[in-house]
Amino acid sequence: MNETATPTIAPEARPRLPRGVRLVHNEAQGGWVLLAPERVFKADQIAAEVVKRCTGEATFDAIVEDLATTFNAPPERVRSDVAALLRGLADKKLLEL
């Protein structure tokens, strides 16, 4: 496998936040933050929209389709961006795939 390749995620995967990881909105901190053990990640609007959909119910395919429709964006581009984001979160133990 090529290391620089875009990460792929199974279409039927149902990503979810594990226990101990929570997305919250905090005015004083200026927006969305992802809270994890001893760590705080600032989530921009797009990342927050993606993470909100990681409920363990929706499949990766459904999330991509939903985002592409909601934001009127090209599905293939959304797919690769979301896959990269989710893979990065999973590597940091912030997401279960």
Partner: protein
């Protein structure tokens, strides 16, 4: 996504919102670790804040921007109202982290905490060798209890961090310690080289590793992080007596975090009371916001204007804020000095001499 730890210089006048609150619920602890970060003079049980006051502190903290609360001590399980305290923090919207020795957290207590929404548990680990672990903790059976509790935490699907405190007696076993954390089911491990404050300062000569040991350990951690990428997160606290630059202590004085002692004094960091002459305010007398914004102790070293050279002209001034105030005081007698850990400090030789001084003697165990 961007981590909040990104070092971005801030305008000097801007007052940040704190992100984290260290709640020292009690100084009581069954363990006697010789590197305990509690002060040598411990708060008494009779002076501890009650449940309702902690609940108010958590609500005020959340309104101030605090996102995470670290329920610590001493041993937080020494408080009979721990479940109520945790639930109050959760109700305030805070992320709750239990920092425990493991001793005193019964199966029943853990279950109640998990049911009430506890987000994360951090267990301190003394060593991968049971005998040595119990010797360091000054408590027979501590190792076994910690292993048992870890299994219970994992079974409840609450994320677990193993906090491994590193010093001369265990520094050669970094590999075994990380293997043990994996075996315990931890998703995160903290390799915390002892920092010399409180009881650790008293035991410094008995805890100090050699430079070669530190370098080997740092190398091992790098290799382990690569090998276990995606399986376990390995965070490391630098061994600062052997560093070239100081740590940005608590993310900058009065900038990112605050600490409430068992009796309610609010400190910029847990060691702040070691600096003489600072005036600390208490949550018994004032709301948290007023303390954060106006207490003399918080404003004593906010920003960087007080720093001398070589800090003022240094490119790292807004990255590390001149290092740690408590360490500057402990090692130079001047809390405004450049942290002597920095190789550019005129006092750096002091750190080098202390880092080279080792004495094998019995530990002075923390008691109380």
């Amino acid at each position: 996504m961007q981590t909040q730890a990104d070092p971005r210089p801030a305008p000097a006048a801007a007052l940040h919102s704190p992100l984290g609150l260290l709640a020292e619920l009690t100084h009581r602890c069954p363990l006697g670790c010789p590197y305990c970060s509690n002060p040598l003079e411990l708060d008494r049980r009779t002076d501890e804040l009650d449940t309702a006051t902690w609940a108010r502190v958590f609500r005020e903290a959340a309104a101030l921007g605090v996102l995470q609360v670290h329920l610590s001590g001493g041993e937080p399980a020494a408080r009979r109202d721990l479940v109520d305290i945790m639930a109050a923090a959760r109700d305030a919207g805070l992320y709750t982290n239990l920092i425990t020795s493991g001793v005193g957290v019964t199966t029943k207590l853990l279950g109640a905490l998990a049911d009430a929404g506890l987000d994360h548990v951090q267990i301190s680990i003394q060593d991968s060798e049971p005998k040595s672990a119990d010797h360091i903790a000054g408590y027979d059976g501590a190792y076994a209890r910690k292993r048992a509790l870890a299994a219970e935490v994992v079974a409840l699907k609450v994320p677990l961090t193993a906090n491994i405190v590193i010093h001369r007696a265990n520094i050669e076993r970094v590999d075994e310690l990380v293997a043990m954390a994996l075996e315990m089911g931890a998703t995160r491990v903290e390799i915390a080289h002892v920092q010399y404050y409180g009881w650790a300062l008293k035991n410094r000569a008995a805890l100090m590793p050699t430079r070669e040991q530190v370098e080997r350990a740092v190398g091992r951690v790098e290799a382990l992080r690569e090998r276990h990428h995606g399986r376990i997160v390995i965070d490391a606290v630098v061994p600062d007596y052997h560093a070239r630059f100081p740590k940005p202590c608590v993310g900058g004085w009065g900038r990112r975090s605050l600490n409430v002692t068992p009796s309610g004094r609010v400190l910029p960091c847990h060691a702040a009371e070691s600096i003489p002459g600072l005036e600390f305010w208490s949550v018994r007398d004032r709301p948290l916001r007023e303390i954060w914004e106006s207490s003399p102790a918080f404003n004593a070293f906010r920003g960087t204007a007080f720093l001398p050279e070589p800090c003022q002209g240094c490119a790292r001034r807004d990255l590390d804020f001149g290092g740690c105030r408590c360490q500057a005081f402990a090692l130079t007698g001047d809390a405004k000095a450049t942290d002597p850990v920095c190789h550019l400090s005129p006092h750096h030789h002091v750190v080098e001499e202390l880092a080279a001084f080792r004495e094998d003697g019995p530990y002075v165990y923390r008691r109380g």
